[in-house]
Amino acid sequence: MSTFYERFERHDHAAGLKAQSTHYCPGCGHGLAHKYLARAIEELGVQDRTIAISPVGCSVFLYYYLDVGNTQAAHGRAPAVALGHKFANPDSVVVSYQGDGDLASIGLTEIMHAAQLGVPITVIFVNNAVYGMTGGQLAPTTLMGQKTTTSPLGRDRTMGQPLRMAELIAQLDGPVYVERVALFDAKQRVRAAKAIKKALRLQVENKGFSLVEVLSECPTHLHLTPLEAQRWVKESMLPVFPLGVKKDATPTDWGTWQKADFDPDALLEAVGARAPPVPRFCSGFPHGLFGGDIGLKLAGAGGDGAQTAAMLIARAAINEGFDATHIPSYGPESRGGTSYADVRLAQDEVFSPDVPTPHVLVAFNAPSLAKFGLAVAPGGVVVYDSSVVREPPAFDASVRAIGVPCSEIAAELGERKVKNTVALGALQCATGLFPDETFLAAIRQALQGKSKLVAVNEEAFRRGMRAAEGCGADDGWFGWWI
């Protein structure tokens, strides 16, 4: 039996003649393209593995006929759907069957990118120079001068010129095989059948993407008899759409396909959850500090390390079994703009994660200090980089403001970027948020695999602490940043 269903049950429940008759108009080229495709599938012995993607257009009902796995796609999207299938089951043989409106107009993005991707799928592109299903409108492949219902006086330059898809696609790197064939006489039909089979075979052999453009007859909308339509394709279409192989790359194997891995250990490893918990040093949540949950804001310019420091605080709290959140926000510049971080810490659960009135503000530059300084909650703490902020604003009397030369200390340590760790040390000195060891452990955890950086960051932290006490000492450390 052929690769066609014996009874077309999906064709109006196989009522009457529809059980074995297509919905195509007499003489329509689609039936031939179907037939050669069906035969290629049969001859290559891949019927079980084949998945046909039906497009939108006259061939939307390909799935009525072809006895293979079938998926019907939205207009123009068949190549994307085909890729979804191919990646889902690399052993499947996926055919995207499309008309000219579908492939060359609305689906141009999908076909071009699928072709360039080069993944082994097979595209059968039926070009009959007119929209069939919607009733004979201008197609992207309609010939100049050709009359359609939306080019009633004939296509002229104002409607653009016909797109030569086979040539367009052949000049991409991705495809291994592109050919344009026709159906208008016995010789062409033999070539068409051969080309379709080759395109399919290249997929079966995992070689790569192939496309066969089939010049086809739409007698109905050409207002010609089938035989006149054959002649029209030969005489009018061929000069615009020359037949032949457009690309036939020496096909190497496309590549190996991965096999999905569901091993629990592999997954834990991948997401970084394998390590043992970090030890705890805290006896309890620092409720006394600010009377409950703690909100911190770290603000500076991109590159100041506000986000890294914020993450470190959140991580330290979570290591201690508390809850913490960190929300970053950035200015619109992709580099060097403002960079603010809201951190909130709670014993059990952070409710509101934003920090409009921080208990602790760490400001790395004057604009940040100006922007958030006055929002600091009464009784709060401000740590700012006194290397760059020369004249701090006047704060609420209850606010403790501590200027620490973070940048200078970092420079002394040999790496400007550890200034955020210096600031963290200062913050720790000013608040005693958690035990020092909590932060040092979080630093070590964050720098896992970069052990060279641990020492300089630990030192930056201690220098920050000492500086906040007013006892910073220059002991000439060198190193890197977090």
């Binding site: 039996m1 108009c25 939205a74 999207r77 990646f87 089951n89 569901f262």
Partner: protein
Amino acid sequence: MAPVEVRPKPVLRSKYCKGCGRCIDACAQGLIERGTDIHPASGLVPIALHPEACNGCGLCVDACPEPYGLVSASLAAELDASEDRRRFPHPRLPAEEVPAARAALPEGRPLVVKGTHAAAIGALLAGCRHFFGYPITPSTEGAELMAKLLPSLGGVFLQAPSEVATVNMMYGCGGAGRPVMTFTSSPGFSLMLEGISYMIGAEVPGVFVDVMRAGPGLGNIGPEQADLKLACRGLGHGNTHAVVLAPATPQEMLDFTMLAFELSFRYRNPVVLLADGHLGEMTGKVTLPAELVRPGEPAWAVSGDAAHRRNLIASILLKETDQEAHNLGLLEKYARMAEGEQRAELFRCEDAEVLVVACTTPARMAKGAVRALRDVGIAAGLFRPQTVWPFPIRSLLPLLGRARRVVVVEASGGQLEDELRLALSHAGASTGVEIQHVRRMGGVLPSQGEIVEAIRGKRSSRKVVAA
């Protein structure tokens, strides 16, 4: 002289001949001519074949566009032999359903990750090994993590040329029965709606994590709850619905993404997970579950093997009554979702006189506000829908007897309130319900302080009336 090969002659099955004449042109021997009589079954005029001098070259068969019009002798024989057997699809039992399995996950340490990363990890735990997506702020970090992790787990990450291509890749991959997902953000989600409608119509599972940002149009990349309406009421054309999950913490980003995959396959329907820009970027503590999922293989999948060859993924039913029946089936499915999937968190609602309704990140500000209001003696409670569609009306209704007012806190122009009002209306509880709101938009979320202020400043004595 070499023996002349005797090739079997073609057979004309005239009721399936459309009289197109392509075979006439094909026969070099001139053995085919136009017919003269209308066929009583087809109403068309089949050709007349004079096979006496036929050499069986088969060129006419190759020229016939009808699969069962002009056929080879062998096909004709096969067709005759099976004429009265209804063989559709080929006599093959439906594929067996291979259910998803769970495997124990060794205990690891809690993660400290941002919301998008938590969702990505949730997807991996749910057995998702196929990701298609297009970069868009503020969702991209989720995609980036998938790009980093999937190759080491034998998975597929493909950056599509657009959101339109993305959703159609998901349609293909989901139609093959694989757990598949994407990350996107509001403008990208808009672009995906056509494909989501197809997925719903064709009953294809897939998970969409939409990290909502401010709109309309390009808007900005700040957090908004701009897509509640789209997700709940506007999933493309047609009668569409999907479970819409609304996490509020990175932990829920992970948990709900896992749940999304489960629901997506349970109902053969896409599931939408709505986060907002803050939740996507918010880092928090995330504990991993005790088990991960090894996906099964659904019987309905189009997966390119013998067992599944009979399957079709499509949303087109040409016959109107078929399409209507399909719609009725979908509506029945939505009713099951509405019945079975309502989820909500209730915080201090037992004795609440002011019910604050909020979801995603604004719900956390609202929770803070509820605590602050309780501290000053106002009996507030938070009702947090974890599914926005279906709206968890069942757990809301009993609270309305005591509540004096409902305050909807949201980062949109009333999209959550609309869902609430619709749900109340359908439940017959809308009359007399006093609903107030605190709304921010454009990338600004309502703060705890302004919620407290709004509620303290807007006391009301009118009673919410529940039916």
